[in-house]
Each structure stands twice: as C-alpha cells, then as structure tokens.
Symmetry: C2
Subunit: 384 residues, 2 copies
Amino acid sequence: MDLPARQRSLREHNLAVVMRLVARNAPLSRAAIAAQSGLTRATVSAIVDELIAGGLVTEVSPPPPNGAGRPATGVVLSGATPAGLGMEINVDYLAVCVLDLAGNVRHRAHLTADQRGRTPSQTWSGLGALARAAHKAAVAQGLSIAGATVALPGLVSEQTVRIAPNLGWTETPIPAHIDGVPLSGGNEANLAALGELHALPGSEPSSFVYVSGEIGIGAGLVVNGQLFTGTQGWAGELGHVTVDPAGPDCTCGSRGCLEQYAGEDAIRSLSGLPSADLPRAAAEGSPPVLAALAQAGTALGVALSSAVNLLDLPCVVLGSHLAPLAPWLSPAIEHELQQRVLTSRWSTLEVRPSALGADAAIIGAARTVTSAIITSPAPYLASR
Amino acid sequence: MDLPARQRSLREHNLAVVMRLVARNAPLSRAAIAAQSGLTRATVSAIVDELIAGGLVTEVSPPPPNGAGRPATGVVLSGATPAGLGMEINVDYLAVCVLDLAGNVRHRAHLTADQRGRTPSQTWSGLGALARAAHKAAVAQGLSIAGATVALPGLVSEQTVRIAPNLGWTETPIPAHIDGVPLSGGNEANLAALGELHALPGSEPSSFVYVSGEIGIGAGLVVNGQLFTGTQGWAGELGHVTVDPAGPDCTCGSRGCLEQYAGEDAIRSLSGLPSADLPRAAAEGSPPVLAALAQAGTALGVALSSAVNLLDLPCVVLGSHLAPLAPWLSPAIEHELQQRVLTSRWSTLEVRPSALGADAAIIGAARTVTSAIITSPAPYLASR
DNA sequence: CCATATTAGTTCAATGGCTAAACAAATACC
DNA sequence: GGTATTTGTTTAGCCATTGAACTAATATGG
C-alpha cells in the first residue's frame, strides 16, 4: 500500500538522492551535487551537513584549482562507520566478508568444509564463528556492522530455506540475528548477481542473467539495474528449464532439465572423467573434456535462449564453477543465442565470465546491507 | 535518475495516494480515506477538494446511517471527464474502445478487415477513421480523451514497430497523434495482460503469464500487479521458447519453437483440417482436432514450465484464439506444469481462459491512459 | 598590487503542504 | 433535550525547500 507523504518525507527522499549521487560519482562538490540533483545549493548544504553528522559521508581535500572561483570541497561516502556483513553457506565451504559503505572489502574469510553430513544447526554454528571473527575485525577497524545477509544454495522465502537440495535442507529457519546483528537470507544466485552488478565498470550492461553453476544451476536476473525475483522470490530456476522434453530424468521429478546437461556432475559424467580438474583438463586440450564442454555449452545456449526470449536480457554472466570454463563454453552458447533469440538482430548478445569469481555471493550479500543505507539513509540516521 | 523532492512533491504524491485508494475501494468517505491513507482528515479534505475541482472524483449520496454521527459523503472516480482511447491493429481486424476513469467501456467498435495486403499507411488511415468516430462519440457523452494507446502484434520500442511479422511490418513509425490525441503504442500481449489484470476480482492472482495465441504466440508477464517488459520492452517472446532443440524450422531462423507446435496454423496443420472452426470441432469431439489440441497443450506446458521456473508466476491465462480452446488445452498444460515446475509442490499452479476475451488488448490499451491519470493525477490537473 | 569576475558555500526570509487541536455539522440514543 | 459519536472544516504552528543576498576564495588583467 502507498505511504502518505509528510514534511519529513522530503528530507528523507533528498538524503537518498544525494547519497546515490555521491555513491555513483565521488568525489562530488556540494555545488556539483546541486547541479546534478536539481536541488538548490542551500538545500544540498543542509543535507550534506546532516550526512556528515551521521557519519555517512566525509569531506576530502579539494583538487587543484583550475579556474577562477572558490575551490570546491569533495564529498565522498564514508569508509569509517557502517558496514555490511555478507556470508555464504555452500556445499563445500563457508565464507564471510565485511564491506564498507564506499564498497571496499575490509575483511574476508573462507573455510573449506563439507556441509553435506552436518545438521543445519551445526552449519549455523560454524558460520556463527566466522561471523564473530569478522565482527571483531570490523570493530577493530572502527566499523560498525549495520546488518548481515547470508547466501544459500536453494529457495528462500520469509526468512526460511524452503529447500536446498545439495545441503539436504528442507524448511530450515534462518536465525533472526547472528552475533547480535540482524540477519536475513537470500538465494545465492540472486545475491551473486547483485555483487556482479556493482562490480561492472560505469554504465553497461545493467541487465544480465547471472548463471550460478554447481551441481545444480541457478540464475540471478538483473533488469535495468534491478534484481528480478518474481512473485515469491523464486525466479531464476534456470537449472530446471527444459532442454529436451524427452531427455534424462532429473532429481526434481521432471525430465530433460538443463542441470542434467550442464551441472558439474553432468559435465564430469559426460567427459568420462569423474575426478578431473575441469579447467585444467580443458586448458590441456583433453578431447573428452572439450567434447563434454561443447555439449554442455549447447544445452546452456538452448536454455539461455529461452530465458533471453522471455526476459529480454542482453548479457549472460557465467559464475561459480562455470566461470573458469567460460572460454570453452562460450562459443556454443553464443552460437545458440545467435540462432534462437528473436531479437538478436537488434541487440548484441554477450557472454562473459564473472568479474568477482568466487566472491560474488558474499559481496552481493554484504551489498544488500550497504545499498539499503545508500538508498534510504534516513532510517539509519534516525537509529543513531 | 532520481528526481529531487520539492514542496509541491508532497501534494502530488498524496493526490495519487488518494486517487489510488478511491480507485480500489469506491465509494469512500473522506474520513475513511484519512484512516486508510494515514493522512489527517484536514489534508484529505483539501486533496479531495482539489480532485473534485479537477473533475477527477465526484461525491455520491451518503449511504443510510448506521449509527450515531454525521452521515458520510462518498467519493468515487468521476465518469464525467477524462477517458482513454484504446485501439488494436490485428491481422484480421481493427478495434477501438473508450474507457472512462471509473473503468466503464463507453464506446466500442470493431472492423473485420484483412490487414495483410495493406501498407502501414493504409492501416493507420483505417484506424484513424475508427478513432475519429470514437472521439466524436466520447465528446457526445461529455468525455474528453486524454490519450490513446494502440496494441500491435510485434516488437515495439521507442514509438516504432520494430517488426510485426504477421502484418509484414518492419521499422514502422507509430504516429505521435491520432485525431489530435497523443498516441503511443505497445505490444498486444503486454496490453492484453494489463487489461486482464484489471478485470480480476478483488485481489488474487496478481501474477500471471498471459498467453496471446494467434499465428504467432506472445506473452504478457504480470508480477505482483506490475507488467514486466524486460530491458527494452521485448520480454514475453514465449512463441520462440525452445520446445525441442531438434524440432521443425521456424520462420524466426531457430528450430523447435513453441509456435511451430501451438500457433493457430500449427494446430490446424496437426489436425489435418486447415479450415476447421477449432472450438466447434473440439466441442463436437473431432478426434484429429482433439489429438492436435492435446499435442499443442503438451508443447505449451513444456514452454510454460520453463517460463514459470524462470519467472515464478503462479497462473497461466490463455487469451486470443487459445481462450475458447482452453477446456481442451488445459489438462495437458496442467500435467506438464505439475511435472516440470520445481515449485509446484509449494504453490498451486492455475490455468484459466481470459476473462476479457477479444477485448483484452483494447481495454488494456485504454487502461494505460486512465491508469496514468490515477497513478499520477498532478500532471493532468496542471494541464487543465 | 588592486579591482573585477567567477565559482563555492552559507545565511535568511518567504512559501506552501501537512499537522494537531478546536470547532461546526449532523446523526443516534437515553 | 442533553450527551455521545462520527464526519468534515478551520486555524495556527512546524518544517523543508526556495530565491536572493552575502561571504569566502580563487584567477586574471590593467
């Protein structure tokens, strides 16, 4: 339902306008902020003072003068106070990072540990230990953790993991707090897509399908800079798009699903080398591995073409275990996209590997915390 | 880019809050609007006065008193001034309707005429004649047409029809005005989905994939009450989702596309009865037609399962030529959805025929005009 | 070196939209 | 007829933004 606008709504909205401008273009002088926002210099001055008092922005030394007039003071996002804690529970590892408001990773930890034989409670406990260490490190750097988000390999809604097949989890509650910090959870592919979005240089592309490939395959969908999650947050199940209706049975109960062709186990099975280091074998030119990757690429291309036809997304980002395999998967993917996407004659379809690699999910998770403050600074300021 | 908030922004926002409440729940007293919006009675009174002065709402007689206290005056959307003109160019017909602010169809006209042998200029001219007659009829009823939208069977972006294969159009500009009224254009499936959205009783479901089936197949995607159009407005190309990667060649250059299985020509070809009245033959139990519909339903189910897995949409609405065939298509569609959609165990997937039938696109098109006024009344008020 | 032009940032009074409280209007009930 | 209740209006105060004026800090030309 719509919220009524009040006098205070003006200041809240314009705090966010200024924060977003500074986040995109720092350093920016007050006069430049005024010019770009359309607010007056008087208003911007008052807003910047409020943000400085709240520890969200800071001033930097002016650049060398390049003309007549008073030198400008630069305003940048502060690296000094609020930070976001991003975490990931995956099949083979737990990971955490602390991201400050300016987007710098201030702490990072990774624990290789098989989660498959452990109860959810044991896993949350292990993650809690990493979180405590991260929290401590952040405080030692003068940061305060404003919130935490954990990336999970499954369907997540209403603070519950509905199913994470590769962890063996069903209807598992996500704790409300971790080490005293408010905690929320999200799907790994969605959070990794958010991380990728912010790692892109400057402008384009801000629409893409991020493919997260492990045993299962998921996708994070970003449309014009916004994550698309569907009705209940369950969009992006690329791994269960039908490649061939009469294809092999899938664990989901269907047949011919993409993950039966391009999931990690499927590629190993296709190559006949169950324990191969796939990127290494591909780089060495192993014929069965190259053949398996070409087949997987074709299947990915078919499924991604359907995704692009439905969603109008001009770019495919290959993440997780698919990222190091991108050189061998991309040709087949691109070929299928070119053949099967109706709009390929008007817009160039691009396939590229993840810029953030294995850190995409934890950075994207931390980003949900910092982005919330940038997008809506007023609640944070009010809570101090 | 974000717009700065100004003093006037408060009134603009709250005009829209009130309009939206009245649109959803008319009639509503000023006191009820205040209670539901969170604004004070004093503010609501001033806002309603401004809307009444602008001809956007009107007062109705109070209902019978049912307790102590002054009787309330009801506020409803006005049927008396602004209206939207919705139009459709389809292969076999042109259609127009005039929709008032309260959602009533005040004029409707349909002209059966094959557009396939005509130039775009001839088609625009024919549509212009219908528009003039509709405009005249609206004025005679005391309405003024605030804007016009035309539904087209193809890809539309930047006031241009990029391609409409079944009309034979390529890079065809949409005129800026029609009979002196500002004109914009949109994809038929998208506009029909908007029409369906507003035809739903009360609340659920506000997320669905509307399947528009003619020779080609398109889809309008509605997620939590919002139309999803993708990066450039080209989302929803369901007809070119791959059903079988090795299937028959498609005119788009791909193979195994859904419209080769479930398009109107494809169903006729499958049944071996090229000129059959499909709904009638199905009702009479014609074996080749029933077999063809079962196959088409299976193919629709495979493609729609992929769409639902990707988009998290719990409902399928069958429109255009598929609507009267729904009783025979739905069983196979539902079967495939149940088998192939990962989330089918948590949410009930529904298949149903269009509520608006052949009028979905023209009503949805007119709705873009009236919805813009309800959602943002301030520009309309300022222009009077 | 000084006066002028220019740009950045601050100060101040006016404006308008919302609010809370008080008031007026119109009913039901005892 | 008096009191309670609900609806709708009036009024003065508050606050966030604005435009104009002012102050601060530089470059440039005579």
